[in-house]
């Protein structure tokens, strides 16, 4: 009998265990297949230069998506990230434009982001307004303020060099041969990873997202933690906004449009659910990478932008489809 049990159980067992560690195998397969295909078609694809480019272009969405993973894990979301980036960029840009020191400008930018985050957090946690509605409202408001403040114009940030003491460093600098925004993204992802998996706050976030009522019963301070979630999100968005301003050598009030949806898609593509309680920042990063490789490869191939869209959509469906098929076969 015991032997039989073994026989019955073992094949299933291993298949499932591998399934757990390879939850996002579909994305991984997509990533590898895409890289192989692009490498075969375009000789430029596998160059260091190109990889550095590609990573640079996805660094900002990477930062924002990392933050979004926390928000979604907590059972919410943040639609105001793009506007936040814009307002921060504009404020930092205008301050630098008028000759203020870099440190002050950056601090002011981060503070703005923090404030937006806290407002979101209070509205969601205390007033209990749905996160989508709250952040949609702040998205509109903050974008409006960015335009009001700048009167629709950009603040050029001139003469900054991509070396450290200058503002250009953050968006255009190179360190150890790697673009600075890429390094910053890796840092942010690493920090978010540690926060989500190693800290008590991270534990609280998953509990709140999974079942806020149970979390409350267990003495978790749901309100305070939720405010923290949006505060972090706000600061990360501001951070991304500052890097973007540095990259563009301008604070642009229309910057960051569409980041919110992109970031949410990456998180969900990474396997999280909008009902909360789930989500891993490493999987989000994988999704960001897939989308980044796609965008980069398509341009290298010179694919028309309309065809790009169609292909991108199909590949999205395929990668998630693979996972679903596997999981169902396993079940």
């Amino acid at each position: 009998m015991a032997t039989h049990m073994q026989a019955c159980a073992s094949p299933k067992n291993t298949s499932k265990r591998s399934a757990i560690s390879l939850e996002r195998i579909g994305l991984l397969i997509s990533l590898v297949v895409l890289i192989v295909i692009f490498a075969m078609i375009s000789p430029y694809f596998l160059t260091l230069d190109n990889f550095s480019n590609m990573l640079l272009s996805l660094s900002l969405i990477g930062i924002v998506s990392a933050g979004m993973t926390i928000a979604i894990a907590s059972g919410g979301m943040d639609m105001s990230v793009g506007s936040n980036m814009a307002l921060t960029g504009v404020i930092v840009g205008s301050m630098l434009h008028s000759g203020m020191p870099q440190g002050l400008a950056i601090a002011a930018g981060l503070l703005i982001g923090l404030l937006i985050g806290v407002c979101n957090g209070i509205s969601i946690a205390k007033v209990k307004i749905n996160p989508l509605i709250t952040t949609l409202a702040t998205m509109i408001i903050v974008r409006g303020i960015a335009f009001l403040y700048s009167n629709g114009l950009s603040f050029g940030i001139y003469g900054t060099k991509p070396t450290f003491p200058d503002f250009g460093f953050w968006g255009r600098g190179i360190l150890f041969g790697i673009p600075v925004p890429v390094i910053l993204m890796v840092l942010v992802v690493a920090v978010v990873y540690v926060v989500l998996t190693k800290t008590a706050f991270g534990r609280d976030v998953y509990a709140i997202g999974g079942n806020a009522e149970a979390a409350r019963v267990c003495g978790i301070n749901v309100e305070r933690n939720t405010i923290w979630v949006y505060l972090i999100m706000g600061v990360l968005s501001a951070f991304a906004g500052i890097i973007l301003a540095s990259r563009l050598t301008a604070g642009v009030p229309s910057a960051g449009t569409g980041y919110e949806l992109n970031a949410i898609s990456c998180v969900v593509l990474g396997g999280a659910s909008l009902t909360g309680g789930q989500g891993k920042v490493e999987d989000t990063l994988l999704a960001v990478l897939v989308l980044g490789v796609l965008g980069n490869g398509f341009v290298l191939l010179g694919l028309s932008s309309f065809l790009q869209d169609v292909a991108r959509g199909l590949i999205l469906l395929l990668s998630v489809g693979i996972d679903q098929m596997r999981q169902r076969r396993a079940a």
């Binding site: 009998m1 039989h4 049990m5 159980a9 299933k12 409350r216 003495g219 978790i220």
Partner: protein, 503 residues
């Protein structure tokens, strides 16, 4: 045909990752028979009935309905085959009305159009509820009802299907004795109509009363099938657990009743809890009994800061307490096991370890970081002490059997640091098997002996009678009586709980 089994299973196997839930189980149900399934938590009972009702597919083995081989690939097909089921985990939709939940998937329609015939729906529901003696408004939203009522709705749904096989997975776990006996009466009627029934319960008395046959399972396999008339308590326990359990009266320890530990004075919440005043002494186990809706759960939630009281005060060790939220309560030394484990107790998508440590985040951290080793060892301790059946600590709680889920919440407070000074347990052994139940009772007693104060709400009369040092009875939100264990009898308690039913 009348004597052939309605349902027959042969060599059914089912495995989940890391768990062989069913292992070559064969089983049958005859018309007009109540076939009881017994077994420890996680023995595979629910999995078996889920295979019969089409929720899961067997990995191996065959099913026969009326001796014809069938493939039950969905719950819909099971229904069409005349099988109807009350699941262990409630399957109601809170945002819909009582009537809609009962007739979910088969709402009466107007002249075969797609339109719902609301009048007929409410009429049929009314009739059904009346015949089952369930006092509920068909239009009430299920989300507003307590578990007891919800369970009755589930039962009403299953019984209304005119099925030839009805499966009941721990239907009485959330019912009080009176509600249960209503169900038993209905089961007798079904029996006369030659309906077959599979009945799962951990309540030995019920089982011995009802069963025509009893099948005992252990670790996914069938141990034995015996006739109900030949079964007795010790025999069943031995089959289930593989050993005898010590059902000697638990040793009593003296409670000093001079300085109350917790003093509740005129605690009220509009309409639900009415001027409750009582005291609990250190190391005392105060049992609270009452019928469905008597306000016990509400009282517990008030004490734990989950609801706001409209008036009244609470003193702990003589000092007034201001508890605004569960956090305050936990800081003050409270621990709380909620009545509805899936709604208030567990984060289903998180694993066993996380769930056990859910209330422990503050203790576990050092400088904000979780001490992973400590987290793991606490979880291991919880799993060990309560014998939680799980392949590993990373198993999602969602995948545990009902009884094991309950144990996870208990483990949470046993491993909590600092150790709670007072535990509020709302139906602590709901869904827990006999062996584990005795174990938990012993544990509660042991904790009390070490000085922990326990407020135990229970609808399980023997539990109330054997475990409590003192018993309090509630009715209509108020406390209607109180007695020491020595003075308590079942009759006295029932009398207090149910008397004066007229307003």
């Amino acid at each position: 045909m009348a004597c052939g089994p309605i349902l027959r299973l042969e060599g059914v196997c089912k495995s989940f990752p890391g768990v062989q839930a069913l292992n070559h189980v064969s089983f049958d149900v005859l018309p007009g028979e109540i076939h009881v399934l017994m077994g420890e938590n996680g023995a595979g009972k629910s999995t078996l009935i889920k295979i019969i009702s089409g929720v899961y597919q067997a990995d191996q083995g065959s099913l026969f309905v009326d001796e014809r081989p069938v493939r039950i690939s969905s719950p819909k097909i099971a229904r069409e085959l005349g099988i109807s089921t009350v699941y262990q985990e409630l399957t109601l939709t809170p945002a819909l009305s009582v009537a809609e939940n009962i007739f979910m998937g088969r709402l009466p329609r107007r002249r075969n159009s797609g339109f719902v015939d609301w009048a007929a729906l409410y009429r049929q529901t009314r009739t059904l509820l009346d015949t089952l003696a369930i006092d509920l408004d068909p239009r009430e939203l299920v989300g507003n009802l307590s578990v007891g009522y919800r369970q009755q709705i589930e039962i009403a749904r299953a019984l209304s299907l005119q099925a030839k096989l009805i499966i009941l997975d721990e239907p009485t776990a959330v019912l009080t004795d009176e509600e249960s006996s209503k169900l038993f009466r209905n089961m007798q009627l079904l029996k006369e109509r030659k309906v077959g029934m599979i009945y799962i319960s951990h309540r030995m008395a019920e089982v011995l009363n009802l069963a025509d046959r009893i099948t005992v399972m252990r670790d996914g396999g069938k141990v034995a099938t015996i006739a109900g008339s030949e079964a007795n308590y010790d025999e069943l326990v031995r089959l289930m657990v593989g050993r005898n359990i010590d059902k000697n009266r638990l040793a009593k320890h003296p409670v000093r009743r001079d300085q109350p530990f917790l003093e509740v004075d005129n605690l009220s919440q509009s309409g639900v809890v009415q001027s409750c005043s009582f005291k609990i002494y250190p190391g005392e186990i105060l049992g609270v009994y009452g019928l469905v809706g008597s306000g016990r759960t509400e009282l517990a939630r008030l004490l734990f800061g989950l609801e706001k009281s409209t008036s009244g005060s609470v003193k702990l060790n003589g000092t007034p307490l201001a508890i605004r939220c569960p956090r305050d309560a936990i800081r003050a030394g409270f621990g709380f096991l909620p009545e509805e484990r899936r709604r208030h107790g567990l984060v289903l998508k998180l694993d066993v370890s996380r769930n056990i440590n859910l209330a422990n985040h503050e203790y576990l951290q050092s400088g904000g970081f979780v001490r992973a080793g400590l987290e793991k060892s606490l979880a291991e301790q919880g799993v060990r002490e309560l014998a939680i059946k799980t392949p590993n600590l990373r198993q999602l709680v969602e995948n545990l059997s009902g009884g094991n889920q309950q144990k996870v919440i208990l483990a949470r407070w046993l491993t909590h640091h600092p150790q709670p000074q007072i535990l509020i347990l709302d139906e602590p052994t709901r869904g827990v098997d006999v062996g584990a139940k005795a174990e938990i009772h012993r544990l509660i007693k042991e904790l009390a002996r070490q000085g922990m104060t326990v407020l135990m709400i229970s609808s399980d009369m023997p539990e109330v009678l054997t475990v409590s040092d003192r018993i309090m009875v509630m009715r209509e939100g108020g406390i209607v009586g109180e007695m020491l264990q020595e003075e308590a009898t079942e009759e006295k308690i029932i009398f207090l709980a149910a008397h004066h039913q007229v307003c």
